[in-house]
Every structure is written in C-alpha cells, then in structure tokens.
Symmetry: C2
Subunit: 257 residues, 2 copies
DNA sequence: CGTTCATTTGAACATGCTCAATTCCTGTGG
DNA sequence: CCACAGGAATTGAGCATGTTCAAATGAACG
C-alpha cells in the first residue's frame, strides 16, 4: 500500500475514473482522496490468480496481458490492455482474483482501493456509470472476441487483431498505421488460439502482399483497405452460418438474387 | 412497460437481486418498488441488438441464448442463461444493447428499470456488491470459455459443455445427472464453434462409450468420472503450451524427470 | 563471441469441416 | 388417423486448414 505514491498528472485527464479524482471532487459530492500511482516493469505481476482482491486499477501507461490457468497448467491469455483500461474487474466475483496480470513493458497504474470505490459509488452517479460502462465494455469485448475466435480462420483472426490494435492506438492519440507490438509472437499465438508458426506465417504473408511491413516488433500498415478485406475472406463465410430470417423472408432474399 | 405485471413469488428467494425486493426493502435503506414480471415464449426476443437499454433483467424460469451478429450477418451465440442469471448487462456500455436475447422455451423474467437500479445502488451496498459480483462473474465465465475454446479439441469442449450444464442445474436444485437440453444441436455447435455434425458425433461417441445416454434432447450422465476424464484427453495437452516457470526453475522440472 | 531465446521456414500429418444422402420427428391438413 | 412436408439430427467419405515436428536463422545479452 505504502509503495503507492500519491500524485496527479496530465495522464489522468484520459482516465475513465477521473470523476473520482481531486479536481472533479470539488464540484460534486464525491469525497475521495487522490489515487496512488506505481511503476512496474516488464514481466512484473500486478496481481496473480488467487490473490485477495482489494482494489481495481487503471492502466496509465504501458501495456499488460491477463491470463488464466487451465487445469493442466496451461496459460491462456485472455486480453491485452492499454492506457485508460480498467484492470482487476475479475476480482468482484469471489473477492479474489481469478486472473494473473503481467506487464509487457515498463508501465504505471493507478490504484483505487475497493473501499474507496464503494464509497464513491454510493455518492456519485457518474462513478456508477463509469464503472458499469467499463465492465459492460469488457464483457462486450470478450463476446466480440469469441465471435472472431469461432467464425474466423487464421488470416481473418490475425487481420482483426492488427486492426483492433490500430484502433486502440488511434483512440489513444497514437499512430494507427505504425506501432510496436509489446507482446511476443508466442503471446499473440496463445491469445488468438493458434500456433506460433501460424502467426509467423501470417506476418510473412501480409508482408509479401505489401499490406503491412514488419520489422521485428514494429508494424506498419501500408494498405488499410486490403487489410480490412482480409476480414471478409471468402473461405470462412459459410462456417456455422445461420440465416438471419429463418421464416417468411425467403422471397426477399431470393428476389435480390 | 405496462405489460410487466408486478408480483412477488417464491422464485425471488434465489434471485441475485433479491435485496432490491420488497421484503428486504423494509430492513434496509433500500426504497425500491416491487419488480415486474413477464412471461415469454420460445423464439421470443427479450431485446435485440441496437435497442435502447433501459433495464436489466433476471431470468426467473426457462432459458435464453444471447447472440451477436458478425459483419457478414452470421449469428454467434455467446451464452446460454438459466434461472437466477442477470440479463442485459451488455447495455451499460453504449446505452443500447449490443446483443440479442432469445428465449429457448417458455420463460419468465423480472425487469429492473435502470433508473431504479441506479437509485438502489446509491442507497444499498449489497445491491452494489451483487451487481458488480454478477458482472464480474459474467466476465470470468466468458474468459474461462475462451480458455476452453482455444485449448480444447472437440471432445473436450463438448464434455466441458455437458459438465457445465450439469453444474448449473445442480446449483439450481435440479438433477445434475439427468436434464433436458433446451437448445438445438445447431445452437450448441454454434456456441462451441464447431460443425453440427461434430456435435452429433460427440453425442454418438459418448453414448457408445456408455458415458452418457441420449434421448432426443434428454441427457443422462451415466459415468461422471469418465466424462471428467474427457477434459484431460491427452491429445490437446501440448497445444500452445507455455511452461509456467520460464526461468530459474528448470532444475526442478528436469529433476523430476 | 558463445549461449540462449525468439522467430522463421519447410514438409508431413491429423482434426474437424464440407458436402451429400438418409433417417428420424413434429406438426398439419386431408 | 394417416399421409406428407419441413425441419432436426445422424452418418459416411473426401478434403483443407492449421498443427506438429524438425531444423535453420536471427537477435540479444552477458
């Protein structure tokens, strides 16, 4: 606890929980002390599976991966997180964390003790909204990812992965067409549910097609529209297809034929 | 709105939001009116993708599936829900639903308007805890499912699916070894990310092995332990394997060799 | 430099998908 | 009550995607 140093910075302006922080605290009923920040380094764990849950965190800079352990000791990466993202939401269920969060690079987080969070929720509607919104978004992201996992082939999944990263960086004010991957190929493969070799082949192929340029962990997107096209790759379209309008609308469909 | 009939029943005792209801309301600061209930039938939609979000729901009886649409119009089932489960949590993100919820059989739900929920959260710690807990659980369930989707082969995924259902039914006071599937084979296949034919073959195989008995949509689990064993099926164990202790512990591993 | 880890590449193989045909249900109308 | 139609489920056979295994190359760090 004491290792967290109280401070306030410009990074906080983008924070999803900024309503809790001191500037805002003046013009609302919220009466919460300033958050405390801490720096972590690559491979450090913010928390591990099983640890007691007593705070949520907001990532201020850097990046993190979250992972679960299967019964057989396999690691499954469940997500990558970037500045502004809420961390530790898994802990509400049991009062203990079910995931492990490891930093991919030097990063800083903002810690909000659960007791403070709860008090803030009681007092501030905007805090309630922000938290529910954040959790709902995490839930929706997971479900979208599931859709991808089941409906897409390797090249679609990979294109989707790159485009998602591009979007995330753009929404954080960074370049959408040139960025560094903070995670290894093994991490990407694990996250996407494919072999490392397949990830490598996807990179090679996209580069051969002049859609992206790869330099170690640096990615340049050369041709956005063709990368988008990868998502609609013909092959996987018919998989598990369920017609939307199962009854009474066949005439429309066949009419447009 | 008016179609929801206010009432209170014994089903509410198992409800995760029961703290909001009238009995409890007396002995706390919560001042919320009784919830309203409504009956739906098979194939009815509770809400659809894009509809305005103005309430969450608790399933009181029956079952539901949630689904997303891919860009190409494919449906991807993201979950099945049973009595006591919270529905509509996807709506907090954008104030509109991103999923579609369809009933698999005649069911009833309890509706909690968002405005009421918010007021209750302001007043009651237990409401805050229950909601955060419910959302956290949904998040964790999603992540566990993802782990399964990526690390398991078809027979493991299917065994896991059956065992999960068994657990859910048991925790709701129903039989864990004999139950009816309220969803079609197509739905199961879509959910698990495999072809209908594969689902069918899994059922056939498990029956041939005398692990389960299948009668249309009725499932009897004959041999629980062998069904559990399916989860540890040798083949898929090495897939995407990441050793847990990457550095400094190799001696232990090789010593046990 | 030499060791170790990360990444790439190639070739064979296996799991699960596709396609096609059949059987089994359910509900409907004669 | 039976015949029939449409959907749901099952089964078989060939094939494709992506995995596994093996080896080589490249980068990083002491």
């Amino acid at each position: 606890m004491s290792q967290y140093v109280a401070q306030q910075s410009s990074l906080c302006q983008k924070c999803s929980m900024s309503a809790m922080c001191i500037e805002k605290a003046c013009d609302s009923k919220v009466n919460v002390k300033v958050r405390s920040h801490k720096i972590f380094h690559k491979s450090d764990a913010l928390f591990r599976d099983g640890e007691r849950f007593d705070a949520i965190y907001i990532l201020r800079s850097g990046s993190v991966k979250s992972s679960l352990l299967s019964g057989t000791g396999q690691e499954q990466i469940t997500g990558f997180y970037f500045p502004g993202d809420l961390l530790g939401l898994d802990g509400f269920e049991k009062g203990a964390h079910s995931q492990t969060l490891k930093f991919l690079e030097t990063s800083s987080v903002c810690r909000i003790a659960f007791s403070e969070l709860d008090a803030a929720m009681a007092n501030s509607q905007s805090i309630r909204y922000n938290l529910l919104q954040g959790m709902s978004q995490a839930l929706n992201d997971d479900d979208k990812f599931l859709l991808n996992a089941h409906c897409m082939n390797a090249s679609q999944k990979f294109a989707s992965f790159i485009l998602n990263l591009s979007n995330k960086f753009e929404s954080r004010g960074l370049s959408s067409h040139n960025f560094d991957l903070s995670m290894s190929r093994v991490d990407i493969a694990n996250y996407l549910g494919m072999a490392v070799e397949t990830v490598s082949r996807q990179l090679t192929q996209l580069q051969k097609d002049h859609i992206i340029e790869v330099n170690k962990r640096n990615i340049s997107i050369v041709d956005f529209s063709r990368l988008q096209d990868c998502l609609n790759d013909e092959k996987a379209m018919s998989k598990h297809f369920i017609p939307l309008m199962s009854k009474g609308f066949t005439s429309q469909v066949s009419a447009s034929h």
